[in-house]
Amino acid sequence: MHNLDERLAHGLHRIVDGEADSIPPTGKLLERGRRGRRRRVSALAGSTLAVVALGALGIAAVAQPTRDVPAGASSAQAPSPELKLASAFATSKDLSYRLRLTTASRAGAGPTYEGAFDPRTDTGYLALAQNASVRTELLINGTRYTIVDRPKGEKYGYRQQYGRHDRLSLYDSPMAVVALAAGGGELPAEVARMGSASPDPAALYEILRKANATITENGDGSLHFVLSTQDQGGSNGLSGDITRDADGRIGKVTLTSNWSSMPKIPTGTMSATLELFDYGVDVKVERPTDIVPSK
């Protein structure tokens, strides 16, 4: 028995492991699903009318005829803020975009990043203006190159980073933006545990989902999220607003983090605003010629 069990498990995997991956026919499924739903609604409308006709014989009935709901229209019960949030992230997924990230802390305005990114090709660029210098990062098919232009036009050449990367360095560390907004230095572990204040849309959604964040809808239709943690060091909070563009995609994420009663950093607040726009933009980056290989 045991031998057969093992052979079955092994054999079943051998049967299908060679199966090629295929792309889900999402558009076709949506069309078929919409047609099916329309048929169901029409059938329901027909039976509703029949019931009303029968009722009219003896009972004064008030019937609200069922409308044929157009494809993609919202149901009578509005989607919850959580579903709207999931939808916004799903609608924005796997699309290229331009981005602008501004940060601020109690010390004042922080650095501003501008760039573009295409998650399908792992290609993009990022420019960070800080302290009279501009740091530029190029990401070309997963390879990163960085360069810093010093004042007086002095250049050091592009440095190629080791390994392959599927994102801009801005998104490497969830705490990168917090650290920069707080002045650039290393932050204590207590702060790093605070709330993973990442502006990366995909990472942010995962954080909100896993942390069971409270999602509500603001009066202007934007979505508000709040999550808080309490530990021995004090309380930490992360909140923000997500504004959707006309197509329901993520348009702007504002993020505010605060912490209190932490050793060395008694109270702090930082904020970041990430704007995503020009979805679907063609992101092409040319490989630089003056490259210093990574060591």
């Binding site: 299908v16 889900p24 499924l29 949506l30 739903r37 919202s74 939808s87 992230f89 799903a90």
Partner: protein, 172 residues
């Protein structure tokens, strides 16, 4: 890649996100159930379309993948029964996937699997491919643990008879 440049409603967007996550995960299960890639894709599409029609309710479920798994098994059983009724012969075997002849063990197991009735096949696949417990298989099939045990036992008995035949090259 799906064209997301057209705006989707909130419900549609969450459905699309689920389909993209579910497709690769469940297509292999569907292949094992049907024995044929084209039928597997049809089965998976049919199950996903049915889910779309009830998406507003289903999207609140904790485990949509478990729902889809159950739907795949049930739909496959229904299709199998319908085909059998429509045919004049007593039993229509599922078509075997074309073999490239390089893996005779797998090919023989594939044929043996397809000789099982759909429910027994589902039990075997869920137990040995999806690695589900008997309780989880019972939930997936909507039956009792006792039924899973008896179906599993019968399936293994039949499979053992087939794979222990001298012609089964895996019996070495």
């Amino acid at each position: 890649m799906t064209d997301y440049t057209k705006p989707l409603s909130a419900a549609d967007a969450s459905y699309v996100a689920f389909v993209e996550a579910a497709w690769q995960r469940h297509i292999r299960l569907a292949v094992l159930l049907t024995g044929d890639r084209l039928r597997a894709e049809e089965l998976l599409q049919d199950s996903l379309v049915k889910m779309y029609e009830r998406w507003r309710k289903l999207s609140r479920l904790d485990d949509l993948h478990a729902y889809l798994r159950r739907s795949l098994v049930n739909n496959h059983t229904s299709v199998w029964r319908r085909r059998r009724r429509e045919s004049l012969v007593a039993e229509i075997p599922d078509r075997a996937m074309p073999s490239d002849g390089t893996d005779e063990d797998a090919d023989a197991l594939r044929r043996a699997l397809l000789s099982l009735p759909p429910k027994q096949r589902a039990v075997v696949v869920l137990r040995h491919y999806e690695d589900l417990s008997e309780r989880a298989v019972a939930q997936a099939l909507g039956c009792s643990v006792g039924t899973v045990k008896s179906q599993h036992s019968r399936a293994l008995e039949k499979l053992r008879r087939i794979v222990e035949q001298p012609s089964y090259t895996g019996n070495r």
